[in-house]
């Protein structure tokens, strides 16, 4: 796909995400119980686990849509959401958090396209107003992105007139338009009708194969098997098991993983 940087051996192994001992509670509910995860450039990591195990919360912490209580999250070596001051971590300013988010694309379960803008306007909105790309360039790149997700003919259509699968592909193009170093997918196919899940997964798989760094929270085990470099199992706010997909699905070592997989497969 067009403007994704080719992955070289030198790039591999370079950490895009470095999360250490992340804790997060909502009131008395401890959602994240010391989560750590490293993701290298070009890697696709799938996070699986039962509902309420903290997968989505962890993903939302990565771009600071949720504040974390302790631990640290770095993207491209940059601390997210917090700044070190006199050895303490204090919440960063609005502006620099916004700047950090520019390098992290996110795709939501409910698409969250802007309903008052056409597909193309959705895609070029942030490049023009956040990155300050010129309108001509943003439109050219936006058209190319819509082409990539197979929706070049829908550029002037409002989200209300698109199917769920088409909306989600526009949402992927919108996130890619910011040229992120890391893409987060938060159950991107869970709200879709079964017959259109495939078209969204195909776009995601293509992205993964082209070397985009991705963290994918999903219930689609087929996708995890095909596209993931690593699968991580989350349970009760912790990562309890991880491995390459073959090993993970064929011979899971943890009791909870086996129980979960037997239910879902």
């Amino acid at each position: 796909m067009g403007d994704t940087q080719p992955v070289t051996d030198k790039d591999r192994g370079e950490l895009v995400l470095h999360a250490v001992d992340v804790h997060k509670s909502f009131g008395r509910l401890h959602v994240l119980n010391g989560v750590s995860l490293d993701v290298s450039r070009g890697e696709t990591v799938c996070i699986i686990g039962a509902s309420g195990s903290g997968k989505s919360t962890f993903l939302r912490c990565i771009n600071h849509l949720e504040k974390i209580d302790s631990g640290r999250i770095e993207v491209n070596g940059q601390l997210i959401g917090y700044r070190q001051r006199n050895g303490n971590l204090v919440e960063d300013s609005e502006k620099s958090i916004a700047r950090q988010r520019m390098q992290i694309g996110m795709v939501f379960q409910r698409f969250n396209l802007f309903p008052h803008m056409t597909a193309l306007q959705n895609v070029i909105e942030a490049p023009i107003h956040v990155r300050r790309t010129s309108k001509e360039q943003a439109v050219a790149e936006g058209n190319a992105l819509l082409e990539r997700v197979g929706l070049a003919d829908k550029r002037d259509v409002y989200p209300g007139k698109l199917s769920g699968g088409q909306q989600q592909r526009v949402a992927i193009a919108r996130a890619l338009a910011m040229k992120p170093a890391l893409m987060l997918f938060d159950e991107a196919t869970s709200a879709l009708d079964p017959e259109v899940i495939g078209e969204v997964l195909a776009v995601m798989e293509e992205l993964a194969h082209e070397g985009m760094t991705m963290i994918v929270v999903t219930h689609e085990m087929g996708f995890a098997r095909e596209a993931a470099d690593r699968v991580v199992m989350m349970d009760d706010g912790r990562f309890i098991e991880e491995g390459a997909p073959e090993q993970f699905f064929e011979a899971p070592s943890h009791e909870r993983t086996r129980a979960f997989l037997s239910k879902i497969l």
Binding site: E94, R101, H129, V130, Y158, G160, A175
Partner: protein, 263 residues
């Protein structure tokens, strides 16, 4: 007694308004517009204060609404007109002549009072509009690197506008009628014009009937404009794809909007 009505006067007031009357009509219109604009601005600021994380700002916003929704607008008008200069110990409200807008001190005090009163009602309307926008919209905007204010301006407010405009239109309709209260501090507007004629001729039916007609013209004209604005705002939401020609027709032809209203 119906025979005692001099229909000639009513006819003349409706079809041959003199220039004093025209001036009074214009005064009603611009006072209402300026007061409504002030009300929207104040309501917007108060709505943002209400959502602030600083408790002092939230408190001030609440106190503002409590006081100005809880007291009669005529009291507020008299208070601002007679009280402000006394209260501050210097002439805060000064007359100004800007050609089309003759802003004497009563007009300025009146616009201020009506606008401040209106802001208290607009705060609730604007807040409800912002609350009606799905939280995911703000999250999506911020995940793309938009700072809060940009996300508010480009993403949330345009969607909130659709919810805000219908009640805002009703507020403006009310405003045009409420502005008649300014006659009691000496503003020569539509109602004032009628009252002056009534008190020199003692013909209440004729003059108040005629002025009622003119208020009806203002409010009906406004409701036509309002329905066009609402249609335009709901267009993209329904996902209608309009050609450029249709869009132009939509903007420039009131007849077109009128004819296709029931579509």
């Amino acid at each position: 007694m119906i025979g005692a009505v001099d229909w000639g006067i009513v006819w003349a007031r409706i079809f041959h308004p003199d220039h004093v009357f025209a001036r009074a009509l214009w005064t009603t219109v611009y006072i209402s517009v300026l007061a409504q604009i002030l009300g929207v601005l104040l309501g917007f600021v108060a709505a943002l204060m209400r959502m602030s994380r600083f408790s002092l700002l939230r408190f001030l916003s609440g106190a503002y609404v409590l006081v100005f929704r809880g007291t009669p607008v005529i009291v507020q008008i008299f208070f601002v007109y007679f009280g402000t200069n006394l209260l501050f110990g210097f002439t805060l409200i000064r007359p100004a002549n800007l050609g089309l807008f003759t802003l004497n001190d009563a007009v300025i005090a009146g616009i201020l009072a009506l606008g401040i009163n209106e802001g208290a009602y607009m705060r609730e309307i604007i807040r409800a509009g912002i609350d009606a926008v799905d939280r995911g919209q703000m999250e999506a905007a911020r995940s793309l690197g938009m700072p809060y204010r940009l996300a508010m301006r480009r993403i949330v407010l345009p969607q909130a506008a659709r919810v805000i405009v219908p009640p805002l239109g009703n507020e403006f309709n009310n405003m045009m009628k409420t502005s008649s209260l300014l006659f009691f501090i000496g503003v020569y507007e539509l109602f004032g014009d009628a009252d002056v004629h009534y008190s020199t001729t003692f013909k209440p039916v004729e003059f108040f009937l005629a002025v009622a007609f003119w208020y009806l013209v203002l409010t009906t004209g406004w409701s036509l404009i309002q329905s066009r604005i609402e249609r335009r705002l709901s267009m993209s939401e329904r996902g209608d794809e309009l050609s450029m020609r249709e869009r132009l027709a939509e903007v420039f032809s009131p007849l077109h909007a009128w004819a296709t209203r029931s579509r």
